[in-house]
Symmetry: D2
Subunit: 91 residues, 4 copies
């Protein structure tokens, strides 16, 4: 979980927006809206998921590598944990 | 909306999965789960949004450009409507 | 190859720009330029590769699905050939 | 530039591969190869650009945030420099 309450709140707001977008998409599909409108809503969900990922990654790097008194060895271990995530989602 | 009922159902299933993932993320954040677990869940949402986008785009191209009797001129018009979407989300 | 000479020229121009960017990157690395400047150049290569992909995909869809007299069956076959490419690079 | 000679060499190898791929693409376009083959080569360039970006980002985070004796304040400044890059290319 993000360490600072403000960061946590920002992430929660983004997650709730994605949930709201998914609910709106369900209604649009059930209501038979045109495909192009649906594609645009899907593109918006995708953009929101990317924004959420990049904000959470930034917060995680800040919390784990930047803040506080840490040794190079501790930071090395934490970097190893996050490196495979960076690799997997920049593909 | 996708023309075939099976396509519509497949898209709805994907949208509902994203909604479920967003709800699980909310609970994980409220429950104070570790950041790394949260990042992995976010990466899964992002993957699901990409999968939804590519499946809906494929269905749209099939419905608009492939199926039925159409003239080159009609297909040209429909292509113009979808081209900017392709461009914007391959960035 | 793109059917129209103008399309082919546009694609070639984009490919040559990427080659030029890669050559500039090699020089920057060999010249010991700062990491941040190198990261920015790499981000530009990545943007150029995405732009090239989306333009070529659009041209391909136009050439294969939109233009000319074709039957739904022919377009179906051509769509099958390109669908896995769309899927693989929207991940 | 990456601090360690091995990292620099790995990045240079990736950059040279992209240059080679761009040169091969030019020849394929000039030789009139089929569109589908060209699209596959372009998808490979795009994959290589993504791989280069994620490896360089990882090296940069390691060099700037992980290694050596640094204060939280120094790391904060360095994080600010790289944060906008992370944001811009996760869109």
């Amino acid at each position: 979980m993000p360490h600072s309450p403000q960061d946590k709140k920002r992430i929660l707001t983004r997650v709730r927006r994605i949930r709201g977008q998914a609910e709106a998409l369900e209604r649009a599909l059930e209501g038979g809206e045109p495909c192009l409108a649906i594609l645009q809503q899907i593109a918006a969900v995708r953009g929101a998921a990317n924004g959420l990922m990049s904000e959470m990654l930034e917060i995680h790097l800040k919390d784990e590598l930047v803040s506080g008194e840490t040794t190079a060895r501790e930071r090395e271990q934490r970097m190893a944990d996050v490196a495979h995530l960076i690799r997997s989602y920049l593909k």
